[in-house]
């Protein structure tokens, strides 16, 4: 899969989504697993665009990479917005409350971490790097 370099704007989310879908097909993922991966990536990308860039008054791009190994599909998002480690958010504590009593928001990161086999984050040389790993189905010999 080619890398995808897109502006860090909401308009780019659908391109990122299509990109992840295509990577999932290339990696032979089950449809359900693919959907979850796309959701996970989309949530983080949305956070980058809204909180990392727009709300911080910054602009920048998002680099989307996919790497297929024997065992896994790895999707990487890189951006140059404010450093933010999604893992620091934890599980929202309002998830069991009725909807009308909930604060708006806080679900995205939860969905992300729940939906991939492994999620990693690092901040290197001014870049946020979000790494999503899902296992590929074992090929029967």
């Amino acid at each position: 899969m080619q890398p995808l370099l897109v502006p860090g704007t909401l308009d780019s989310l659908s391109a990122i989504g299509q990109y992840v879908n295509a990577a999932a097909v290339a990696a032979g993922l089950d449809k359900k697993v693919a959907y979850r991966l796309r959701l996970a990536v989309d949530e983080i990308a949305t956070n980058i665009v809204i909180h990392g860039y727009e709300e911080s008054g910054l602009s920048g791009d998002v680099l989307v990479l996919s790497t297929i190994t024997d065992n896994s599909l790895i999707i990487t998002l890189e951006d140059t917005s404010r450093p933010f480690d999604p893992r620091s958010m934890g599980r929202p504590d309002h998830i069991d409350k009725p909807v009308h009593e909930r604060p708006i928001g806080g679900l995205g990161v939860y969905l992300t971490i729940q939906n991939v086999d492994k999620f990693d984050y690092e901040y290197v040389n001014g870049h946020n790097r979000n790494i999503f790993i899902v296992n590929r189905p074992k090929i029967e010999a």
């Binding site: 080619q2 502006p7 602009s59 920048g60 791009d61 790497t67 190994t69 990487t76 890189e78």
Partner: protein, 729 residues
Amino acid sequence: MDDMLRIDTYPTHIFNEYGLRPGHPYPFGANPVPGGINFSVFSRHADYCVLVLFKKDAPKPFAEIPFRGMFTKPGTGEPFWGDFRIGNVFSMVVFDLNIEEIEYGFRMGAGYPKVERGKPGFQRFDPRSILLDPYARAIGGRDIWGQAPDWNNIYQHRARIAYDDFDWESDRPLEIPAENLMIYEMHVRGFTRHPSAGVKHAGTFAGLKDKIPYLKELGVNSVELMPIYEFDELEGVHNHPETGEMLVNYWGYSTVGFFAPKAGYAATGKSKDGTMVVDELKTLVKELHANGIEVMLDVVFNHTAEGNEYGPTISFRGIDNITYYLLTPEGYYFNFSGTGNTLNCNNPVVRGMVLDCLRYWAAEYHIDGFRFDLAAVLGRDQNGAPMLNPPLLEALANDPVLAKCKLIAEAWDAGGLYQVGSFPAFGRWGEWNGKFRDTLRRWIKGDSGIISDLALRLQGSPDLYASRGPTASVNFITCHDGFTMLDLVSYDNKHNEANGENNNDGANDNNSWNCGCEGETDDQGIQDLRFRQIKNAFALLTVSQGVPMMLMGDEMGNSQSGNNNMYCHDSELSWLDWSLLQKNQQLFRFFKNCISFRKAHPVFHNMWHLRGQDYLGTGLPDISWHGVKAWNPDWSESSRLLAFMLDGKHAKGGQSQDNSIYVVTNTYWEGLDVELPGLPSVRGQNWYVFANTGVNTPEDVCEPGAELLLGKQDHLFVGPRSVVILVAK
């Protein structure tokens, strides 16, 4: 040792099916290495760079490879992070690519606000744009002149890779001393595009090559090619509001890529093979050299084809806008070039690119010299202010590879900086002498009050180039920019209506005179006078100290119908009509003989300024001035006659022995009887007439060496508006 393979011929990283390894930052561009291609591109401000690979002409890339990302290890397939960047240079080797098949570009992204078209901004990164490598050595996308591309293609000017494996045999740059040059300024396409040129590949490098015998016969020994770096003739293409003529960028002063020859100027352009285009131009250079003709390129480093805030993103502005361009404090493009933007030439990185570029042309194309368009821009600092010691000009003057190249400045810019005579020369730079052009034009049309100025111009402008010598002065009366020689004597005013700008474009101060009727006429008297005036101008050009330059076609009386700004016409108006050669044979003969006369006489080739003294004790000063009376020049306001004598024994400061030459120019409307200076009797010589524009052809000029003995040795009748050249032997 054949079985030893270099260790770096193996990939260390895998991305999809591509084997990669960290690349070499230098040299920039795409360079073949064992097993692969090393891609290297600078950007100080980009966070992301992605290599984009296309098959030739393909609308979509077949691969995109990031310079940083999650790769896998060969063999184990283990994922790991890789970053192919050193400093501000992204570089990586990609293995197993077919050089002949691919085109490449870059996407770059960074954390800067997106700038809308038409708005100011310091960075214009847009990862959706595919960017041309500034170091691309061959560029596709405009492979055949004038052929409209697919405007929807996301990648318009497409970098290709060319081999540098041309067999030059024993060719080298000719290194003709500057004082011996006779420059012919020409347009590659216009020279042979007209059907009358009769060449197989009209309007191309190959077509020009077929005309080398003609250039040789004319006698020029340097061709200055108007821009041949890749440009887009379809840039700003539009139709004339009234005539409907398609107007294009015919001249090409708008560079797309500084390292690539214009594919549309190559007969092999249609092959879409970068190496073939490169080799066609190299073949031309080699063949010109074999015929004793140097090649000078007109290079445009003051701006690029990317225009202003509304212009297209082709390369530089998407790679590092603020590095490559001069920007106002608000982020608008400074416009010292008059074309929308200004290259930031004294930024060290851009300076490095200019140097790399010229070295490449000198080393790989054997180019003999460069003429720098609007060179005053090259001396402006990063805020646009003129510098006393511009580092770029100094670096060029002292560069080891360029050491024998001619460096010639058009010493002004469109921002009002006029540096004729004061261009920072570092002992190396010559200049297009605009004052020579203006003074000679005014003198020839008969203006008074400029006789002392004329004397300075004829001597190589010692007032302007005191320390540099006459070879700093490139003397010209006509060039591509302005009237042709015939139009200079046929029109009082410019006639640029065909350019579609209501005659508002082009210079107004042409110092021209139509000889009695604006434009074409059947009046034989006017026609004769015009031809005489052309001969007067050319004769004075060839007897002046300095480096003469003539415009293509002037030798056959080429006209542009009074248009003095032909940049946008690709038609019979701009193409050279070779049938004129037959029609105006007498002009060609006059030009040819004047060139050959100049070549034969070292007195015209001084490297140091004349002193007006007999410092060698030969009995004559190196140069002496005369009027109607010998030894008595009339320097008064109303004077319209001036004569000078060059002493042959002072030729080149006495290093050469030559005949003495006497030149008289009369711009008075009546003939005058002129007393000739006597030659020292010990020499036992007589005056012979080489040229007399006041008489009809064929008596107007001789073959050098076959001059006619002057009947009366002490007096000469000089016709109205005439030049006479005598040689003592």
